[in-house]
Symmetry: none
DNA sequence: AATGAATGAGCCTTCATTCAT
DNA sequence: GATGAATGAAGGCTCATTCAT
């Protein structure tokens, strides 16, 4: 679509290979030669098609986000006619599975996680198209669950609490693999983990809604 | 203390510089020459004192963890005579401030975050000494807050929910800076954020304790 | 011929330069930079064309042997229809001139001598193609001259006596230059030296043939 | 003796270690650190005692020659009252055993052979003390065996023929090991080889004495 | 006198990029 | 349009040497 009539076979293979290699080895450790070898194209192709290693990286990132969103569409989480709790639960399910997918998406997730933790200028490009929509959706859903008397910052903090719980399983995967790998050992366990996050978050939000909580000192009989 | 009578001035400066440069540029992008230049020592010093770039990296990592723990000791979070809620709240406060410290700790956090997201063999070394103790503490505290009828995996999931909320502000800092930088704009806001996480987590755990929650379908009137 | 359509100009120049520099300075003392400078090619060319310094060395060695054999073909020494004495005399002439050539072959000899005195793994490669044939030829020729009643080891010792006399002028050139440089001062003198070696060897072999010699105690009137 | 009152323990150990390491790895490949490690002395000792790596090498060479001559004294070869043939036979025996000694002398021979094939400025130093005497002895002995009507150059050529046969087993050891290792497989075989060289040489020289030989065309019935 | 700490020059190699075809 | 050959910059590391003690 971007370049109208090209032998995009090479270009596409290059993109796929780049996602894989960049994900596995990081930007610097990935070599243009390896990417080209994996894509079975000429070593000069990267410069020809993308104008350099960095440009290829940026395109790979967008490509990875797009493909991830396509594989795991938010679906009913975006359907504003559904109950907020259901939308949130659905989002967490989809989001977590997207993060932990190691089969279809292959290495997309690693690439994205790497970019978020260690952002390059390419991150700005994907913020608007891939990340912002999720925030927007949650900004719409959360007030229904926690009440409407909260400031925007409080809402953001809740959003971050929810996303943080999910992203933990991606960004700190290395730690989880060493401490408690069972919690994501199978698709079934991942489901349970998603249920946990939803339950945990909804419980907290529900408590927020009851409004009694203003400071952290007033957990009267609760605790 | 380890090596008694060494002019470790150079070695120490090297370590400090290494943390900084590795944090900013990552292992591969960081050059030995740059590190040595910043430490104002001879370019061969890295090999002389540490035996190579990789060894220096591993030491830098340990050093960063150690210094971070020293700057932000868990303190009363480890005091088992205190109420569990207070211990957890304290831990979150300390942990979050440690994660978001940009002044004293400088670049330690970035280095650690990078290593967790993109682990090298050096990670194993710091798991036991720096990360495991935090898990152990939380494994001791959480059952008091969520009841004792839960499986180990459920406890782990709660631990991950709490840590995830905190780490969100470190690992996804780049996203936060772009979406809602206000929530960590000042020490005061960071305090509020820590309070939020504590409140959010205690609320959820309290709900868990009430035991009513078995599936995600029983949020009674709330939704 | 091996690689059909390559701009092997650079590769060839590199090979020629490598022979020269390796011969003059030895493997370790020779620097890739110097070789490339002498060949007027890029410093990275060694790795590009040969895959490293060691590989270049191995190729240089083969190249030197091949070129030496091409410049000084064994010719009639290999012609089994000629008299054995003539074949041996011819071999010694050719071999000695090959060893002492300082003009056409340039530094090939030094390189080979170095490798033989101080062998690397590359030696095995050239043994079969360059050295073994000479042994085979001599194993065919010598029995005609010394009689056929000798053991294989005796024949080998005679071969080594002949080769040793020749190689003396290469391997111990440094000593000869200091003690009696006149014996190889000119092409004419080299010819005389070759004649000497042939005469010396044929005399000894002839004596062997007479069979009277069993121990070193029977030099009748001589002593 | 050279340096009057020194803790020459270190210096001597250094010298012994240097001979070994230089012999095994060559001048450039041998590292000062390895030599010092093997000698169990400080890395700076080489410069302190010898003034640099090169100086140490030169001293090692002299030391090796001296020790070799001491281990294998020419003995009766120098006794001018003995018959010339016996003196020559004796010399060959001693010389060959010295060259092939792998036990007592250890690596001395390798070091010497290396230096002869690939001479450094240190060679001049040992020429006068170690090599020249052997030539002188042979210059005295040979005329008795080959007659006195020969030119000095002819005598030199005969000397070189004899030395060459012996040195073959040192300088081209790598080839012999690959082609016919049996001829030097045991002390007994080495003895046989020495006998062969003596027999071969005496036969040739005896023929020279008969004077009939002027050109290489007059091997009458021999061929 | 003798040493351990520290240095700086230089080496081989890798790699993204360019250029002629 | 697309490629294979070739490049030059830079990186990590080794090592003989020096200097303060």
């Amino acid at each position: 679509m971007s370049v109208p009539f090209c032998n995009d076979q090479s270009r596409d293979r290059l993109l796929v290979a780049a996602v894989e290699v960049f994900a596995e080895r990081g930007f610097r450790d990935a070599t243009v030669r390896d990417i080209c070898a994996k894509a079975e194209v000429n070593p000069a192709s990267v410069n020809y098609y993308f104008g350099g290693k960095e440009k290829l990286y940026a395109e790979s990132l967008s490509f990875a986000f797009a493909q991830a969103d396509q594989c795991y569409p938010l679906g009913e989480a975006l359907n504003s006619s559904l109950p907020a709790a259901q939308r949130l639960t659905c989002f967490i399910q989809v989001f977590l599975h997207k993060l932990l997918d190691d089969t279809v998406l292959g290495h997309h997730g690693k690439l994205i996680a790497r970019e978020i933790t260690d952002p390059t200028s390419a991150l700005d490009g994907v913020m608007a198209t891939a990340i912002a929509p999720q925030f927007d959706m949650l900004k719409e859903v959360l007030p229904c669950l926690m009440g409407s008397s909260w400031s925007e910052q409080d809402i953001y903090r809740c959003i971050l609490s929810i996303l943080g719980q999910c992203l933990m399983y991606k960004h700190s995967r290395s730690v989880i693999d060493r401490v408690c790998p069972e919690v994501i050992a199978s698709a079934e366990e991942i489901n349970r983990t998603a249920e946990h996050i939803a339950k945990f978050s909804l419980a907290a939000l529900n408590r927020f809604k009851q409004g009694a909580i203003k400071s952290d000192a007033d957990e009267p009989g609760g605790l």
